[in-house]
């Protein structure tokens, strides 16, 4: 951090004998801007490289079929993906159930590139040759499982998140065909909503299992956060919809409130925010439905929001200071 205040403070900390000479030299150089890290720029370049390459491959699939032929494009991209994943496999340390330090600066980027190219290639093959036929949506499940396997083997939270979102996408796509065939009484919207809810519950359970079995426990926040977002979204989806709307509102208030309560007790900051926002949304929609008078409604909104701000101030004192800064 370049900061003249910090540079002055480093000198003071040296005089007060808080920092040693080597610490003062390094911290002082950084604070005065004499030593600057290009780490962010270099990571940005790698990220940009992955984005440009995958976008280019996407356009290649679309625009160059006539020139190159689908088979050669699929083979070329597949070979590039295999090269990336082979490099990753060669550089990767053995599997560990805990967090593993990245063995190379570009490791995560090459892994992401290889996985994304492989997924894009699979989608292209499915689109061109239709090996799965009517069950084409299952290629999303394959991609999701592939991402998950790579995530656990190479300790990638990014691929784990992608695996969960791709799984959710598969359920979203498959819901309208499979559930309707099995449970004829579901409409498309209900089926998608219930799938979102089931995915959310499953992800929360996965998160708990990861911690319980001490298997990649650092993946837990990803699964839990996405899980709760899906659960709350699935409930919120119904708050303005037909005869069960009132029940959905009540459920949103109860689930959001419960989540906020347990998150507060467990010190789970982000979940606390999710819970409070969801409960407040449910409460406000319920109030808007119950109160016809605009003036009363505005008054209730204002009073409840002010009460919440003061409530936050009171709750805040119970959270440890370190977690906030």
């Amino acid at each position: 951090m370049i900061s003249p205040d910090l540079a002055a403070a480093v000198n003071r900390l040296e005089e007060e004998d808080v920092l040693g000479p080597e610490q003062v030299r390094l911290f002082g150089r950084v604070a005065r801007g004499e030593l600057v890290s290009l780490s962010v720029a270099l990571h940005g370049l790698l990220y940009l490289g992955v984005v440009a390459l995958t976008s280019g491959v996407g356009l290649l699939f679309r625009n160059e079929i006539a020139n190159l032929g689908p088979l050669s494009i699929a083979a070329g991209v597949g070979a590039a993906a295999a090269l990336c994943l082979a490099w990753v496999a060669r550089r990767s340390p053995p599997f560990s159930a805990g967090e593993v330090r990245s063995p190379h600066f570009a490791f995560d980027y090459v892994l992401a590139l290889g996985a994304l190219l492989a997924a894009a290639d699979l989608a292209f093959v499915e689109g061109q040759f239709s090996p799965l036929g009517e069950s084409w949506a299952f290629h999303l499940l394959l991609v999701s499982l592939g991402y998950a396997a790579a995530a656990f083997r190479f300790d990638s939270r990014t691929l784990f998140a992608l695996s969960l979102t791709t799984f959710t996408a598969w359920r979203g796509v498959a819901a309208t065909s499979v559930e309707r065939a099995v449970f004829g009484f579901f409409g498309d919207t209900d089926a998608v909503r219930l799938n979102a809810l089931a995915c959310g519950l499953a992800f929360v359970a996965i998160g708990r299992a990861l911690v319980g079995r001490n298997l990649k426990a650092h993946f837990e926040p990803t699964a839990t956060h996405l899980g709760w977002l899906l659960i709350l979204q699935a409930i919120a989806w119904g708050i303005d919809d037909g005869p069960t709307a009132a029940l959905h509102r009540l459920t949103l208030v109860a689930v959001g409130g419960g989540l906020a309560w347990f998150a507060w007790r467990g010190g789970r900051f982000a979940l606390f925010v999710f819970g409070v926002l969801a409960a407040y949304l449910g409460l406000m929609i319920a109030l808007a439905e119950a109160v016809d008078e605009t003036t009363v409604m505005l008054l209730l909104v204002a009073v409840s929001a002010i009460a919440l701000v003061f409530g936050l101030g009171a709750i805040h004192r119970l959270f440890p200071k370190e977690a906030e800064e």
Binding site: I2, V36, L38, P221, E325
Partner: protein, 389 residues
């Protein structure tokens, strides 16, 4: 800004840096607590999650109360009075929170300040021209510039610096010589901002604001000299009273081509010489834009191949640059290092998850203690030393 707020900000910079040193393993817990004791926090703050909630609920409450006043007192929406009244009332509320209540980073005071400025802008627009549409853009920009600049000076919030910069350049664009004025203003503003960003006489919030203004000025300068913006008369077309019939002055076109090609390189060179990260980042981004401009005029290869080539170049450049920097004496060259110095971010896990899910950015790997930067300068000694580095 209030004197006590500035003092608290200066102390917070030291505490934040100390926590980053601790996270990177350069100091131990005892040293951290000694630093925190020497630079105590005398303000009442919220963490990120509470701040977001407080901002949201305060905004909801304020808008509901303002709406209530409209319903109860039935004021005329074309009268500036009610908007200015609420702008002043919310300004006073912000002052109370930041002053006697000693609130900083609390979310609520940011919400009241932001809504005060927004309502002030509406009031200003109506006060200087009534509800007519004539000159509306100029009135919005002028009100926004004055109020954002005042908010930035008084409260130091980054959004106000951004608003002041954008509306200021937006105002210049409204004049007959908008492009020329943008270039002149940016050329004056960029060095002034980078100088202010390192001046100890300025409050930390104002230094950060200077960086934001500098970034806006860089973008404005590039937009003003860019050949495509020149050919399309983009700047001239943004004026409320402009005529798009104006023809391009041919003698200066080659200058615009030259500037589009050379300006990014100039920023890169300046950034390297001054060790200014923002100039370097601007140079890199604008280099990408200038390369994209070439393809806009000359389609040298299919877009798909161009993107693949650019991606490969970015990956190759990133890897080469890192290797080259690390091969220098003590892992640095000309004061630059490829390694992260101190991770001073305080992002929560949820933000990391959301970012990873929203795009496919590989998330940062855990960095073990004392591995962030290896200066090769020997071992630590003295108070709070934790070993070699």
């Amino acid at each position: 800004m209030r004197v006590e707020e500035v003092a608290a900000e200066r102390a917070k910079e030291v505490r934040d840096a100390a926590r980053a040193w601790r996270r990177a393993g350069f100091i131990d817990e005892d040293t951290l607590s000694r630093i925190v004791t020497l630079y105590p926090d005398e303000r009442r703050r919220f963490g990120l999650g509470f701040r977001v909630l407080a901002f949201v609920f305060t905004s909801v409450a304020v808008w509901a109360i303002v709406g209530l006043s409209f319903v109860l007192f039935d004021p005329r929406l074309d009268s500036a009075g009610i908007f200015l009244f609420w702008a002043i009332a919310l300004t006073a509320l912000t002052e109370v929170q930041r002053g006697p209540l000693a609130r900083t980073n609390g979310g609520a005071e940011t919400a009241t300040a932001l809504i005060a400025v927004l309502l002030g802008i509406v009031g200003g627009v109506i006060a200087f021209g009534g509800p007519t549409l004539h000159g509306l853009v100029v009135r919005i920009l002028a009100s926004a510039f004055v109020l954002c600049a005042a908010g930035a000076w008084r409260w130091g919030d980054r959004l106000f610096f951004l608003g002041a910069g954008l509306s200021g350049f937006g105002l210049l664009v409204q004049t007959d010589q908008g492009r020329l004025l943008c270039i002149v203003a940016a050329l004056l503003l960029i060095p002034a901002c980078f100088s202010a960003a390192r001046g100890i006489e300025h409050a930390p919030a104002h230094r950060r604001g200077a960086i934001i203004l500098g970034a806006v000025a860089i973008l404005a300068l590039y937009a003003a000299i860019h050949i495509w913006s020149w050919d399309q008369r983009l700047i001239e077309g943004m004026g409320e009273f402009s005529s798009s019939e104006t023809t391009v002055a041919p003698p200066f076109r080659w200058l615009s081509i030259l500037a589009t090609a050379l300006l990014p390189a100039g920023f890169l060179a300046m950034g390297w010489r001054r060790r200014e990260p923002l100039l370097l980042y601007a140079g890199l981004i604008l280099t990408g834009l200038s390369v994209a401009t070439i393809r806009l005029y000359h389609s040298v290869m299919p877009l798909s191949l161009a993107l693949i080539l650019i991606g490969a170049v970015c990956l190759g450049l990133g890897l080469w640059a890192r290797r080259w920097l690390r091969a220098g004496e003590k892992g640095e060259r000309a004061g630059f290092t490829a390694d992260p110095l101190f991770d001073n971010s305080n992002r929560t896990d949820v933000i990391k998850s959301v970012v990873a899910m929203a795009s496919f950015t590989p998330s940062a790997q855990a960095t073990p203690a004392r591995n962030a930067f290896e200066g090769g300068g020997g071992r630590f000694g003295g108070g709070g030393a934790t070993g070699g580095f």
